[in-house]
């Protein structure tokens, strides 16, 4: 019998998958166009703009007190710190003398916000990897912090407690006691988190060696916050350019050198411990004084350019104001941490699998309104 040999030019097919804007794993309205070959990812292209609200254009029309209200809709998980950034810009430009009480309270509230954001991050990280119970544990602790904020500021998500000149009103009498109770309670919970997720062999196999980012790449891509620190890049703004009461406290910068998903995870867990330690150092000695310094009703920044950097839970937030001396900024630019962190997603996911992409995105901790502004 005659047999014929047929030559086939067999190439594996690449095809597109859309991780669309409504998606359980992308933490918000982010659309990712994946080009995959079987299970391996060839290219990740983010498509942004689903929650773009032209905040920067609005800031050119609003007064500075109104701009503070816009900022906590950007990265809503670190709303206090965002507000603090704009308030510090205005106060430094006007060269106001801020009372120590305000600085200490701002720092305590900023650290509580950081812990709340990391609690939510931890819950969602477990959920993305498949351990569905972690979501509830993370939220249980975040609820306690939200209750403290609700008593003092009146809001649970978009706080608006910081104003240019100080705080909107003085802290509630229960604030100190509740914060101390929370710190004591949370110290028993982080070991619980470690037992549930960090020490789990399945989790470690999903996250170790996955999504590796070298230190040079981290600096070149502008990664900041835990993403940069997971690769050994010391970028904590609280250490290098301290603001508010952060120069009065001692804390360690959480650094890991591995650069993989597990390292970024460990950095955030370590950051929670450090935030607890900062709060403990400050909570007992809140200085007495005014909670607010009077400013004009219409704030006009002097002519010039001002840049303020703060460390939110995601990384380095920068507020860049170009002012011509009028009551609105001429140009206001927010350097958001998520924007730079997102740009390295393609670089670290190529060559990995889809499951790795989900785990990596969970540790990048993106909040899309922060990116889209």
């Amino acid at each position: 019998m005659e047999t014929t040999i047929v030559d086939t030019n067999f190439k594996s097919e690449e095809y597109f998958i859309n991780m669309g804007p409504q998606h359980p794993a992308t933490h918000g309205v982010l659309r990712l166009l994946l080009t995959i070959d079987g299970e391996i990812i060839k290219k990740v292209e983010p498509d942004l703009g689903y929650i773009h609200r032209s905040i920067e254009k609005m800031c050119e029309r609003d007064s500075y007190q109104q701009i503070v209200h816009l900022t906590d809709r950007m990265d809503y998980l670190s709303s206090h710190i965002n507000n603090e950034a704009v308030c510090l810009t205005v106060e430094n430009a006007l060269e106001l003398e801020i009372p120590d009480r305000v600085k200490v309270v701002r720092t305590i509230i900023g650290e509580l916000t950081r812990i709340a954001s990391h609690c939510l991050w931890w819950g969602v990280m477990g959920m993305d990897v498949g351990a569905l119970t972690t979501y509830f544990y993370g939220f249980r602790d975040r609820e306690m912090i939200n209750d403290i904020f609700e008593e003092t500021c009146g809001a649970r998500l978009t706080m608006n407690y910081n104003v240019p000149g100080g705080l909107m009103w003085d802290i509630h009498p229960n604030f100190v006691k509740r914060t101390k109770d929370f710190v004591a309670h949370f110290k028993t919970k982080i070991p619980e988190y470690d037992r549930l997720l960090t020490g789990n062999i399945i989790f470690q196999k999903r996250t170790k060696g996955v999504g590796i980012l070298s230190k040079e790449d981290a600096i070149s891509f502008g990664a900041s916050g835990p993403v940069g620190r997971g690769s050994g890049y010391s970028c904590d703004v609280r250490k290098h350019h301290p603001y508010s009461a952060l120069d009065k406290v001692t804390f360690n910068e959480a650094l890991q050198t591995a650069g993989d998903t597990f390292a970024r995870y460990q950095v955030r867990i370590q950051e929670m411990w450090e935030s607890l330690s900062i709060i403990e150092q400050l909570i007992d000695n809140i200085p007495e004084g005014e909670h607010r310094v009077a400013t004009n009703a219409v704030i006009k920044l002097p002519k010039g350019e001002f840049y303020q950097r703060v460390e939110t839970a995601r990384g380095e937030l920068g507020v860049y104001v170009i002012s011509t001396g009028t009551k609105n900024p001429y140009r206001l630019k927010f350097r958001s941490p998520g924007f730079s962190n997102l740009s390295l997603l393609n670089h670290i996911s190529v060559g990995g699998k889809i499951g790795d992409l989900v785990a990596t995105m969970a540790t990048l901790d993106l909040v899309i309104p922060d990116i889209d502004r």
Binding site: Y15, V129, G130, T133, Y135, I354
Partner: protein, 354 residues
């Protein structure tokens, strides 16, 4: 079970007296099938509710407790909702295969249910190749999954179905081999014989070390067989839609869904039969009341079901390649070595007899 035995005997005699033999056998078969359908439905409903309450307990919340006493009618309400849904279908789907796929999984689950010994003499089908038959039947369920994914004409469903098929086929090996380890102790594949042998001590006690290893491998492989977490990359893979049952809605989706829970129950029931003595009470304390066998059987099975639910709500998911590595590089060699150890123990008569 003397009363029940007499009921079945009286029904049997009555039927044979009023009809010719073949018709009577057929009517008997239909009656048994209906009873088991009822058992299937109730078990499915109860297990779904149990899963939701257990999940809620782990997650520090309560779970459904409003519809009916402690939420017992919740699944009925869900089933009614599913029945009233529109049965959509894709345009270019292969209609015949698309409709046929759910029936494969349901039928294989039901057939396997017929072999489980709930108590002495309460077994629908006591064939002499019991275990072999069970494993063969559960392999048929894979066909349903693959057909469902293929016939949906959906790229993502196909990928999900392929993955699920590969996973199920791989882990069937481990299930079969770990059961084989215990067969070495009993010398027979027939389920009632297996229970008889356990009257002198449950098999997990008789076989001590290799039996415990076999049990652990069986639980892991059994959880993977039913596509439950931590091996549910296939269906909880939210990146690729809902896996192979993306395009199903209404009652057909309910079939897939129920079949998963019944499979879980089956894995636990087989483990109870082979490792933990089925309906035998510990140390033979209630041997004189055969009725209580049902209670013991259900109690042991529900403990194992609870264990599987505990796995699901605690552990993260394994990636697909890690899943297959686990089976082929770790579980399979362990299983083979375990069989040899068990053979050694049986040969040297080192089993523990109570």
């Amino acid at each position: 079970m003397n009363k029940a035995l007499s009921i079945t005997k009286t029904i049997h005699d009555w039927l044979f007296s009023i009809m010719p033999e073949t018709t009577a056998s057929i009517v008997e078969m239909i009656l048994v099938a209906l009873v088991y359908l009822g058992v299937f439905a109730i078990a499915g409903l109860f297990l779904v509710l149990l899963e939701r309450r257990v999940a809620a307990w782990f997650q520090l919340r309560i779970g459904p407790n409003r519809v009916g006493f402690q939420g017992l009618l919740q699944t009925m309400a869900d089933a009614l909702k599913l029945v009233s849904k529109e049965l959509t279908g894709t345009d270019k789907a292969d209609k015949f295969l698309y409709n046929l796929a759910p029936y494969f999984v349901i039928i294989s689950a039901l057939m396997a249910l017929g072999l489980i010994p709930f108590t002495k003499d309460f077994q629908a089908f006591d064939i002499n190749i019991g275990i072999f038959f069970l494993i063969a039947i559960s392999s048929i369920g894979v066909i349903g999954i693959l057909l469902g994914g293929w016939a949906s004409n959906n790229k993502f469903a196909l990928i999900g179905a392929m993955r699920s098929g590969v996973q199920t086929i791989s882990y069937e090996l481990s299930v079969g081999l770990s059961l084989l380890t215990m067969i070495l102790l009993t010398g027979s594949l027939q389920l009632s014989e297996i229970v008889e042998v356990q009257k002198s001590g449950w098999l997990i006690v008789q076989g001590h070390v290799p039996a415990i290893i076999a049990f652990m491998i069986y639980m892991i492989a059994g959880t993977a067989e039913t596509n439950r977490a931590p091996f549910d990359m296939v269906e909880a893979e939210s990146e690729l839609g809902a896996g192979f049952h993306t395009e199903y809605s209404g009652m057909k989706f309910a079939y897939f869904f129920l079949a998963e829970f019944i499979n879980m129950f089956l894995i636990a029931a087989i483990a109870t039969t082979v490792f933990f003595g089925a309906w035998l009470s510990p140390f033979g304390i209630t041997e004189s009341i055969p009725w209580l066998g049902v209670f013991w059987f259900l109690a042991k099975t529900l403990v194992l079901v609870f264990l599987m639910m505990w796995f699901r709500w605690t552990f993260p998911r394994l990636r697909v390649d890690q899943l297959l590595t686990l089976e082929w590089k770790y579980l399979l060699p362990m299983n083979l070595v375990n069989i040899m150890i068990m053979a050694l123990i049986v040969w040297q008569k080192l089993t523990i007899q109570i």
